[in-house]
C-alpha cells in the first residue's frame, strides 16, 4: 500500500510504500488516550502473475476499534461488521446506510466508501476499490483516509498515527533523477538525510476508478528514515 502524509504547514506531502507479505497485519494508528486503534491486514494478488517479480500488496481488511466505547468495526471488500458491545450488525457494500448512535456516526455510500466518525474526534473514510470480478490476478481492496487527525492525542503512534502531529522537513539539492518528470532531492528529516523522489500518489476518495494525483516527496525503502524504527516494528498479531 502507499501512504500519503500531508504536511499542511509546508503545503506539501510525503509518501512511501510498505511492501510486506500478504497476511501481515500492520498497526496504522494507536492512540492510548482516546483508545482508538486502527490495524490493517494485507492481501496480494489471487495468484502471482508469471512475470511479476514483486508482488504488490493492499489492505484486504481494516479493523477500527475504540476500546473506551467497546466498539469494533471490521471492514473487508465483502462486508462491514460493527460490534458495539455485545450487539453485532453486519452490512454489505450494496447497502446505503446512515447510522447515528451516541458517539458514533457510520455512513455507508453504496459500493463506494464508508465514513466513520467517533465522538468529536477524527473521522475515517474507507474507500472500496473494486476490480473486475473475473480478473484472475487482482482482487478488491480498501483504502483508508483519516480526516481531522489533529483531534487524536499527541501520544498517537502507528505507521500513520505518528504523522498526525507536525513534522518538519527540508528539501535541498533538487536534481534530475532517472525519470525526467521525477527529480530527486535530499530531504532532511528527523536528523536523517534521505534521497527522495518527487512523484505522485493517488487520492481515491472522490474518484475510486482514476483517483486524483497528489504530488509528494517519495521516501524509498518502505519509508526508512522517515518512520520511527523500521516498518516491521509495526506488524501486530491480529486485526484487534
Amino acid at each position: 500500500p502507499h501512504f500519503i502524509i500531508s504536511v499542511p504547514q509546508k503545503e506539501d506531502a510525503l509518501c512511501f510504500n510498505i511492501n510486506e507479505n500478504p497476511g501481515a497485519v500492520l498497526n496504522l494508528i494507536k492512540d492510548p488516550v482516546t483508545g482508538i486503534t486502527v490495524n490493517g491486514q494485507l492481501i496480494g494478488a489471487r495468484r502471482t502473475s508469471n512475470e511479476a517479480k514483486i508482488q504488490n500488496t493492499y489492505f484486504g481488511k481494516l479493523g477500527i476499534a475504540n476500546k473506551h466505547l467497546d466498539l469494533k468495526l471490521t471492514v473487508t471488500p465483502e462486508k462491514i461488521t460493527l460490534q458495539n458491545g455485545n450487539e453485532k450488525s453486519v452490512f454489505n457494500w450494496l447497502d446505503s446506510i446512515n447510522l447515528q448512535q451516541e458517539g458514533l456516526t457510520l455512513i455507508i455510500n453504496k459500493e463506494k466508501n464508508l465514513v466513520l466518525s467517533l465522538g468529536g474526534g477524527a473521522s475515517f473514510v474507507v474507500v472500496l476499490h473494486q476490480v473486475w470480478k473475473k480478473h484472475p490476478l487482482h482482487q478488491d481492496f480498501l483504502g483508508l483516509y483519516v480526516m481531522d487527525s489533529h483531534k487524536l492525542s499527541e501520544q498517537t503512534h502507528g505507521l500513520l498515527g505518528q504523522f498526525f502531529h507536525p513534522i518538519d522537513f527540508n528539501i535541498v539539492e533538487i536534481h534530475p533523477g532517472s525519470d525526467p518528470k521525477k527529480p530527486d532531492a535530499t530531504m532532511i528529516v528527523k536528523n536523517n538525510e534521505l534521497t527522495v523522489t518527487r512523484g505522485w500518489q493517488k487520492d481515491y476518495r472522490k474518484d475510486t476508478k482514476h483517483g486524483l494525483d497528489i504530488p509528494c516527496w517519495f521516501v524509498h525503502n518502505s519509508g526508512a528514515g522517515l518512520i520511527d524504527g523500521v516498518h516491521t516494528d509495526y506488524i501486530v498479531s491480529s486485526i484487534f
Partner: protein, 631 residues
C-alpha cells in the same frame, strides 16, 4: 536474422572460429491471437587462451518492439534497461564518456532493423545473449506472416527455431518456408496444426547446416517465413482476458466496393531514368488489375500539371487500352508541383460525385508517387498540408509512395496520416515496380467503407482506434481496450459499415467466462498477451497520430506513448535501452533505439546529446489528510 561474426582465421575445428564457439542458438516464438513474443537466445564460449570479442547480431522486423535484452557472462547477468530516450542518452554518454557512438539498433533493410552487441570475454568464459521482442502480426492477402531472418556466420552445434501458435478461432492453414531451404533441408522443417494450436520447428544438425559434405561454411542464410490464417466461420472474434479485450474483425463473402482511383504521378526531372521506367512498368501492371466497375484517371505533375482525361473514366477495355498507350508515353520534365497535382486530383473526385460520373455508393482513393520535395506552386510543406486537408475533408484516403531516400518522407507521412491514408517508402531497386504493384494490391479491394466498431460506453475504456475508412479484402481490423465494468459477463460489439449495395451491421459477442477460462488453460503459451497487445496497438497508434500533431496535442500524445512504452518496457522511438557491459576488457555501454522510417538510411543512426531539463513544477496537494491506499 541471427548472425555471428568472428574476425581472423578459422580454427581447425569447424565449429570454433577465432577461438569462439557458438554452441547453441535458439529462436523461440510464441504467437497467441496474432501477438508474437519472440526470444532469441545464443550461447557462446571462448575456447582461446586470451580474451576475445563476441558479437551478437540480430535482424528483427521493423514493426516489432524490443522488450528485453540480457547478457550473461559466467553466471553474471547484465540486463538492458529501458528508459526515456533523453535520460537513457544522458546515462549512456556518462557511461562511455567518449562522445557520440553508433547505437545498437540500425535500420538495415526494407523490413528489418539490426540489433548488434559485442562484448569481450575472458579465456574459457561463457556468454549467453537473450533478446526478446514482440509484435502484432498483420493480416495481408488473407494470411498472417511472421518472418525470421536466419544467418549464423558459422556452424552451430544446436541450432533451432521453435514456433508455437495458439489461435482461439482455430488454425485453418499453416505454411513454413525458408529461402535457404534445399531439398535435403526441406524434411527438417516440421510443421503441424490441429484445432487451436500450430507448431513449426526447424532443427538442422551440424552436417545438415554445411554447404557441402566437407565444408565448414553454413547454408543457413536467408528468410524463414511462417504464414498462417485462422478459421473464418464468423466475421468477428471478441476475446476478453484479464481485464482487456481484443476484437478481430474480418468478414468474408462480401462484394467488392466499386472504387475510383486517382493516380497522381511525379514526372519531375529527378524521376528520369530507372524511376520513371519502373513507374511506367508498375502502372501497366496495375492497369491489368483494375476491375471493370472501377473508375480511374492519371494526373502527372512536373512544373505543370497534366491530366490524362478531364474526368474519371470507367475501366472499360477501350479505356484501359488507351491508358496503356498514355502510360507508355509518360516522360519526365520540369520541377515538382506536388500541391498542384494533388489539388487537381481532389477536385476531379469532387466533380465526379457532384456530377454523378461515378456511383454514389463507391469509394475513392488517391495514390501519389513522388521522389522529391515540392518546389513549384505552393511549396511550403505546412501550407500544403493545411490546404490538402481542407480540400479532402476526410472523404478520400491519401496514400503517398515515396520513391528513394531523397524524398521528404516526414512530410509525406504527415500528409497521408492527416488524410486517413498511409505512406510507404519505395526502395530504388530492381523490384521497385513490384513494390508499387504490391502496394496497389493491398488497397485495391475495399470491401467496406466507413467502418465503425462500437462498444458499450460504460463497459470499456482506453479504446484503440475504432473508426476505419476502409476494410480491404484479406486484411483484418483490430480494436482493443480495457474492461471497466466490474460486473461484466459478456461484451457486445456493434460494427457498422457501408457495403457495396447497402449499409451493413455486424454484432459480435464475447463471453468473458468461457474465454477467460479457455485461455487460462493455455497460459503456458502467453498469459498476459491481451494487455500487451492492447499496449502495443495503443502505442503504435499514438506514435502515428503524433506524426501529424502539433503543439499541446503532440505533447499529450508523446507523454501517453512514453508512459505506456516505459510501463510495458517497449523500445519505441521515445525510449532507449541501455546495455551495460562488464567493465573489464574495455567494454562500453550500448544504447538500443528504435529507428523510424523517416530516418531510414543504410548508414548507422547516430545520437545527439541533449541535456535534461532542470526545472520542475512542484505543485502542492489540494487537500489535507493522511491516508493509506493502493494503486
Amino acid at each position: 536474422l541471427v548472425q555471428f561474426r568472428n574476425i581472423k582465421k578459422r580454427n581447425a575445428d569447424d565449429v570454433i572460429i577465432n577461438g569462439i564457439e557458438f554452441y547453441s542458438i535458439k529462436i523461440d516464438c510464441r504467437v497467441t491471437s496474432r501477438f508474437a513474443h519472440n526470444v532469441i537466445t545464443s550461447r557462446a564460449v571462448n575456447r582461446a587462451n586470451i580474451s576475445k570479442e563476441v558479437i551478437f547480431d540480430v535482424d528483427l522486423p521493423k514493426t516489432a518492439f524490443i522488450t528485453n535484452f540480457t547478457m550473461t557472462i559466467d553466471g553474471v547477468t547484465y540486463p538492458g534497461n529501458i528508459k526515456e530516450k533523453e535520460v537513457a542518452k544522458k546515462q549512456y554518454e556518462k557511461a562511455v564518456s567518449k562522445g557520440q557512438t553508433a547505437g545498437l539498433v540500425k535500420a538495415s533493410g526494407r523490413k528489418t532493423e539490426k540489433f548488434t552487441v559485442s562484448v569481450n570475454i575472458a579465456a574459457a568464459s561463457k556468454v549467453t545473449f537473450e533478446l526478446t521482442y514482440e509484435e502484432l502480426l498483420k493480416r495481408q492477402f488473407g494470411k498472417y506472416e511472421m518472418f525470421i531472418k536466419v544467418k549464423p556466420k558459422q556452424l552451430v552445434k544446436n541450432f533451432e527455431v521453435q514456433v508455437n501458435i495458439f489461435e482461439p478461432q482455430g488454425i485453418r492453414e499453416l505454411e513454413a518456408e525458408g529461402t535457404f531451404i534445399t531439398n535435403e533441408l526441406s524434411d527438417v522443417i516440421k510443421k503441424s496444426f490441429s484445432g487451436k494450436k500450430g507448431h513449426v520447428s526447424f532443427k538442422p544438425t551440424l552436417n545438415q547446416q554445411r554447404t557441402c559434405a566437407n565444408c565448414s561454411t553454413t547454408l543457413l542464410d536467408g528468410d524463414f517465413t511462417i504464414k498462417y490464417d485462422v478459421e473464418r466461420g464468423k466475421p468477428n472474434d471478441l476475446q476478453i482476458v484479464n481485464g482487456y479485450f481484443v476484437h478481430f474483425f474480418a468478414p468474408t463473402d462480401l462484394q467488392n466496393l466499386p472504387k475510383n482511383v486517382v493516380f497522381v504521378i511525379d514526372i519531375s526531372g529527378s524521376m528520369s531514368g530507372r524511376e520513371i521506367e519502373q513507374t511506367r512498368e508498375a502502372l501497366l501492371k496495375i492497369l491489368d488489375d483494375i476491375k471493370g466497375d472501377d473508375y480511374f484517371n492519371f494526373i502527372l505533375f512536373g512544373s505543370v500539371v497534366y491530366t490524362w482525361k478531364d474526368t474519371l473514366v470507367k475501366a472499360t477495355a477501350e479505356n484501359l487500352e488507351e491508358a496503356r498507350k498514355f502510360v507508355r508515353a509518360i516522360h519526365t520534365e520540369g520541377a515538382t508541383n506536388l500541391h498542384g497535382g494533388l489539388m487537381r486530383g481532389i477536385e476531379m473526385l469532387n466533380t465526379a460525385y457532384e456530377k454523378n460520373i461515378v456511383p454514389q455508393r463507391s469509394t475513392s482513393i488517391i495514390i501519389m508517387l513522388t521522389d522529391g520535395q515540392p518546389n513549384v506552386g505552393l511549396s511550403d510543406p505546412q501550407q500544403i498540408q493545411e490546404s490538402v486537408k481542407k480540400a479532402i475533408q476526410e472523404k478520400y484516403p491519401l496514400y503517398n509512395l515515396g520513391f528513394g531516400y531523397g524524398v521528404d518522407y516526414n512530410f509525406l507521412e504527415k500528409l497521408a496520416l492527416e488524410n486517413k491514408g498511409l505512406a510507404r517508402r519505395i526502395y530504388p531497386d530492381s523490384d521497385s515496380a513490384i513494390q508499387l504493384q504490391g502496394f496497389y494490391d493491398e488497397v485495391s479491394n475495399p470491401m467496406l467503407s466507413d467502418v465503425e466498431l462500437n462498444y458499450p460506453e460504460n463497459s470499456v475504456s482506453d479504446l484503440t482506434n475504432n473508426n476505419f475508412k476502409h476494410f480491404y479484402d484479406g486484411s483484418e481490423i483490430v480494436v482493443a481496450g480495457r474492461i471497466v465494468d466490474n460486473d461484466l459477463n459478456s461484451l457486445t460489439a456493434d460494427v457498422k459499415a457501408q457495403g457495396a449495395d447497402n449499409d451493413v451491421t455486424f454484432i459480435a459477442q464475447g463471453d468473458v467466462k468461457e474465454i477467460t477460462e479457455a485461455l487460462q488453460e493455455q497460459e503456458y503459451i502467453f498469459g498476459d498477451y491481451t494487455e500487451r497487445l492492447w499496449a502495443y496497438l495503443t502505442i503504435q497508434q499514438l506514435l502515428e497520430k503524433r506524426i501529424a500533431a502539433t503543439g499541446d496535442e503532440k505533447e499529450n500524445l508523446t507523454a501517453k506513448a512514453l508512459e505506456l512504452s516505459l510501463k510495458y518496457k517497449f523500445v519505441t522511438p521515445l525510449t532507449s535501452m541501455i546495455v551495460t557491459k562488464p567493465e573489464d576488457y574495455d567494454n562500453q555501454a550500448g544504447l538500443a533505439d528504435k529507428p523510424i522510417e523517416a530516418e531510414a538510411r543504410s548508414a548507422p543512426v547516430t545520437h545527439q546529446v541533449s541535456s535534461v531539463s532542470s526545472s520542475y513544477r512542484l505543485s502542492a496537494p489540494p487537500t489535507w489528510y493522511t491516508s493509506v491506499d493502493g494503486d
